[in-house]
């Protein structure tokens, strides 16, 4: 992979304008917004079931026009700061995936699963902002969505490669593109002024110990991603479980007992989530 091609791919990825999403959450948010009695909390709760809408909301609130780039990593806070008008505008301007890409529904479930897992881990470890860990988990595979939209000719090749060689999606990306979705995440986070905790978590979820400032965030997302795969909740693009780094658990102080608590909480959370799945 030459440097020139990488730069060209990066340019195409960052040129993303109207990232589409799946219809369910979009419809639900639209319905909620028509009711003047709807609270910000209700809308935030639904939006956290959609990685694309969540990313759009965070991108908007962290854009320089609002005057505090890189500060907001909570969907609820973002909605308060943007206000109904702006959120409505975002919803109206979001389109729905065409049929071909509906096959990505599994990735939406996987992302919601990872968000739930990260939130549970953060809660059990007594972290201050479990919601923000959940957001990091929700967005950890955003790079896959953006690449699928911006580099459509690559997607079928990637899928074929994953099937033919039974490798992970990440390995396929690296062999075909020269970079993985974790790198795409880093580009997007920088380009969209996402806060450093979210940025590091999604850029380093496959090698969490390399994260410099928010190592804990990266470790939580790393474990959350792994557990979601183990539970086979949703689909991350391949049938493999990503390489697990046991040091991540050590760094977080997540011992056997705490892990068991996480697993118990997750079984319940996943069951519940399967009932209200939007994809």
């Amino acid at each position: 992979m030459t440097q020139d091609m990488r730069t060209a791919y990066k340019g195409r990825v960052l040129a993303v304008k109207n990232l589409p999403t799946l219809p369910k959450v979009l419809e639900e948010v639209t319905r909620l917004m028509e009711d003047p009695g709807t609270s910000t909390e209700q809308i935030a709760k639904v939006i956290t079931y959609d990685q694309v809408l969540s990313a759009k909301v965070l991108k908007m609130v962290n854009s320089p026009i609002y005057g505090f780039p890189g500060r907001i990593s909570s969907i609820q806070h973002a909605l308060v700061l943007l206000g109904f008008n702006v959120v409505r505008g975002l919803i109206i301007s979001t389109s729905v995936f065409d049929d071909m890409n509906k096959a990505m529904a599994g990735l939406w479930d996987h992302s919601v699963g990872c968000a739930l897992a990260c939130g549970e881990i953060a809660k059990i470890l007594g972290m201050k902002d479990p919601e923000e860990y959940a957001v990091a988990g929700l967005l950890h595979d955003l790079g896959k969505v953006v690449s699928a939209v911006q580099l459509p000719e690559i997607k079928p090749e990637l899928e074929a490669l994953v099937r033919a060689r039974d490798i992970t999606f990440l390995e396929a990306e690296k062999s075909l593109l020269g970079f993985g979705h974790d790198r795409v995440n880093a580009w997007l986070a920088e380009h969209w002024n996402l806060p450093p905790n979210i940025s590091e978590a999604i850029a380093y979820h496959h090698k969490p110990l390399s994260a410099q400032l928010y190592t804990k965030y990266a470790c939580v997302v790393h474990i959350g991603d792994f557990l979601t795969r183990v539970y086979e909740f949703g689909n991350g693009g391949d049938d493999n479980v990503p390489v697990f780094q046991p040091h991540a658990m050590k760094l977080l102080g997540l011992n056997q007992r705490a892990l068991e608590n996480v697993l118990d909480a997750l079984s319940d959370a996943f069951l519940e989530a399967a009932d209200i799945s939007f994809s």
Partner: protein
């Protein structure tokens, strides 16, 4: 809109033109109670008065016996103290096709001659309204500033409307600014402005107004029956969001630690909001100044509390 601008009496306007027919035409557009024209047939005659006692509006012909309209406009607009004068230049129709560089024209708007009366009227009124909006707006948050705030309060007192006026300021903003610098301070103010605007807007009732007095002082207005719920919501939202504006270490600790001028260690809690609410009930407020006087009394009470809080003026109307 022109009604608002002329509430305190007719608007003073200068009309500079040597064309008598044009002058008569302009003078016939608004009644004297609305705009009072002072007419000059030469620029030289107007300049001194313009500088010593500037009008709200200056309309000038492009061609004057002693200088061009452009030169006159530049003379006025290049001084910051006169930039609030709304300036409209009247150009011959050919000027439109002469290929001039419009970005160098310092007037606030232009009208082509011969003019159509309705268009002239619309242009002037729009220019006046735009000038008030943009000049008064706070340069950071773009919320309406003092002139608009005072006008709003005066209007509503005069019309004997019931309303509640919230005076919001941030506690420990100075400590934040001192530690993180004014750019980070501006971030916090932008956040506060959005929280106030969106919270006030989230309550129905028609009357919702937010202004930025300056620095960390804001004002909002709401109907009497929603103000308490609005204060609670505003405080809850601000308190939830404000930690994100601190560095991880301070956020974790929940305070800023810094040295004061004598080198002693001081601890400042995270920023919070104090809200003093003044009520106008059955015309209980007699005057604008009364509102701010009551507010500063209430502020003292609100400030006794360390955390975010609000105090509502409970005196019967």
């Amino acid at each position: 809109m022109l009604e608002d601008l002329t509430a305190a009496g007719p608007l003073r306007a200068f009309l500079i033109s040597a064309d008598e027919a044009f002058v008569r035409q302009v003078q016939g557009i608004w009644p004297d109670t609305c705009i009072q024209w002072m007419v000059f047939d030469r620029a030289g005659a107007a300049v001194e008065q313009l500088f010593s006692d500037p009008p709200a509006l200056l309309v000038s012909d492009a061609q004057l016996p002693d200088m061009t309209g452009d030169a006159l406009v530049t003379l006025v607009k290049s001084e910051n103290v006169y930039s609030q004068v709304a300036v409209v230049l009247c150009l011959p129709n050919e000027a439109l096709h002469a290929g001039r560089d419009w970005s160098t024209l310092e007037a606030d708007d232009f009208v082509l001659l011969p003019f159509e009366q309705e268009e002239f009227k619309a242009r002037i009124e729009l220019t006046l309204a735009r000038m008030t909006r943009t000049l008064d707006a706070n340069p950071l948050t773009r919320l309406p500033g003092n002139t608009t705030i005072i006008q709003f309060i005066k209007d509503n007192i005069e019309k004997r409307r019931d309303f509640a006026l919230g005076y919001v300021d941030l506690d420990n903003f100075k400590a934040f600014n001192d530690k993180y610098g004014f750019l980070r301070g501006d971030e916090a103010l932008m956040m506060a402005a959005r929280v106030i605007v969106n919270t006030v807007r989230s309550f129905p009732g028609g009357m919702n107004f937010v202004g930025h007095v300056g620095g960390d002082d804001f004002v909002f207005a709401l109907p009497l029956d929603t103000v308490e719920a609005a204060c609670r919501r505003l405080i809850a939202r601000f308190d939830a969001i404000v930690p994100s504006f601190y560095d991880a270490e301070d956020r974790e600790r929940g305070s800023i630690v810094s040295n004061d001028r004598r080198g002693e260690v001081q601890t400042f809690p995270l920023m919070s909001v104090s809200i003093a609410v003044v009520c106008n009930r059955d015309g209980s407020l007699g005057h604008y100044a009364e509102a701010s006087a009551i507010a500063s009394q209430l502020k003292k009470k609100a400030k006794e509390n360390f955390a975010s809080c609000f105090v509502i003026d409970q005196r019967a109307g």
